[in-house]
């Protein structure tokens, strides 16, 4: 990646988080990965204390989002990110167990960039994450709007 893109991983299941991180690393992506296990903590980081998202003005972020979170739903986070003037250009990859077509449609409608269903089969899972890593290594992430 050209710019130091920070990957924000919002995933309540630490096991999943570990597996995702490992496989991203295996694909050769060495960007910083910030893991959050709850939606509240992630939102606090993303929007800052004032809730405007001004903190991340000009920095390049990529969000990996799980939909089934204990405190808030991933949909809410997606919605707020895409409505924020600083964060709306940030690519959001939804990575979740939900493969309900309504849910998928909803996410794309809200501005999600990629929707990936976590396969139980580990080979497919690892493959998907590695390919996602490859995707990360070529994706051009714009800095957050100024």
């Amino acid at each position: 990646m050209n710019n130091p893109v920070t990957i924000i991983m919002i995933e309540d299941d630490e096991g999943h988080a570990r597996l995702i991180e490992r496989n991203i690393r295996r694909s050769g992506v060495n960007n910083e990965i910030l893991p959050f296990t709850s939606g509240t903590a992630a939102l606090e980081y993303l929007f800052g204390k004032d809730g405007t998202g001004l903190d991340h003005k000009g920095s390049a972020l990529l969000i990996l989002l799980d939909l089934n979170l204990p405190d808030t739903t991933g949909i809410d986070i997606l919605k707020r990110v895409k409505e924020n003037r600083y964060l709306k250009t940030t690519p959001v990859v939804v990575l979740t167990t939900t493969d309900d077509s309504h849910e998928i449609k909803r996410c794309y409608e809200l501005g999600c960039n990629v929707y990936i269903t976590k396969p139980v089969n580990y080979e497919s899972f690892a493959n998907a994450i590695r390919q996602l890593g490859l995707f990360f290594s070529v994706i051009q992430v714009p800095p957050a709007a100024t």
Binding site: D13, L19, V120
Partner: protein
Amino acid sequence: VTADAQRKRAMGHVLLFAAGLLVLTAISAGSVHLVNKAREDARKVLHTLEAENQISLVQLQLRRAESAQRGYLATLRPDFRVDFEQALSELTPALTRLSQLISDNPVQRRLISEMMPLYDQRIEEFRTTIELARSQRMSDAAKIVREGIGRDTMKHIDDLAVRMRAEEDRLFVERTTNADRSQTLAASITGIGSGFVVVLAGIAIFLVRRSSLARDQADARLRDSHLNLEATIDERTADLREANDEIQRFAYIVSHDLRSPLVNIMGFTSELEELRGDIFKRIAALSRAQSATPPAPENATDTAEPVLEGSDKQLSEDFSEALGFIKSSIGKMDRLISAILSLTREGRREFEPVWIDTRELIEAIVTTVAHQAAEAQAEIRIDPLPNIVSDRLALEQIFSNLIDNALKYLKAGVPGEITVRGRTKLGFAIFELSDNGRGIDPKDHQRIFELFRRAGTQDKPGQGIGLAHVRALVRRLGGTMSVASELHQGSTFTITLPINWPVGNRNTRT
């Protein structure tokens, strides 16, 4: 209204009717009787008058005989004798008639028996005087007349006649009174009877009104309870629907949330597998170092299985076996969860009723399984089928599952024969799918429709979902499904579906 009260009311009606009939009969009988009595009374009154008349007639004839006798005695003209004889000849039958008329009355009978000798005596006296006059013994005759014996007798006769007349008058008064009483009685009986009938009619009207009122009330109650029932049914249906939805959601969420830990188990099992490779590589390297053989180049052994010996090899194999079981179990669990998910998703799908050419639909399914059919040397025959209004996708799933099963469980080495037949009965279309396959033991007939359950030889891949899914669909479409089969005798699956889309079917969901 209880049965007891109803019986009482019916009894009341019968009694009322009987009473009315009785009163009418009594009135009629009474009237007939009284009319007869009145006629009898009138006859008796007439009889009395006749008797009185006869008494007068008898007296008149006696007087006539007397005046004829006097005339003859005075003039001796034979005319008077003829007159006398004529009066006598009329007197005798008149007397006879009179005694006949009064024969029913003992008082009169006594009087007339007293009177008869007097008459005879008088007539004898007349004859004697006339005979004396004829034989020119006028003085003797005049003497007899003068003696006045005849006058006494005559007076006596008149007396008796007066008494008889008085008796007849008494009878007349009595009989007239009787007749009057009879008539009054008849009139009052008719009046009272009419009154009774009016009263009974009034009671009947009252009863009819009361029972019609009761019927109206019962009608109203029936309507109310009907409405209540409808409301209750709606409520229950809503409850059931809600419960069903709840179960669907529950199954969906559970299966979904089960997946998440499964990803971890699978993921870290695979990680363990990787670690296993690393560990045994190192063990191999260590053991080789101990046995002082030259170590193989690092790169060459990177992907290849490390060469192990003795107990190390055993350990590695045990490790692999354990991991293999874990992975296959996870795979199985994943398939089950996916099956539950797809079933719940199917259960949440809305139906779209359309007019379906059933034969065409099944022919399309047969085309898609043509390859499997050819492999199994099976022939699928489709008889004329009734067309129905239903959900196309659901029907496709139902028939393709059944045809798949029929092809899958044919007897090895026997060319398959699968037949789809159809008929209609009372607004339902009945489809029968028969095969000559391996059949199903009757004790398994219920089991095969249960989720994740299978029957017979387990030599074909499958989850035990197809038939459970088919039956759930058939039920949701408002139909029923059954199987008839014996082991090694083939099976017949019967599906009954409504021809028209039933109103209130679960085609809409809130």
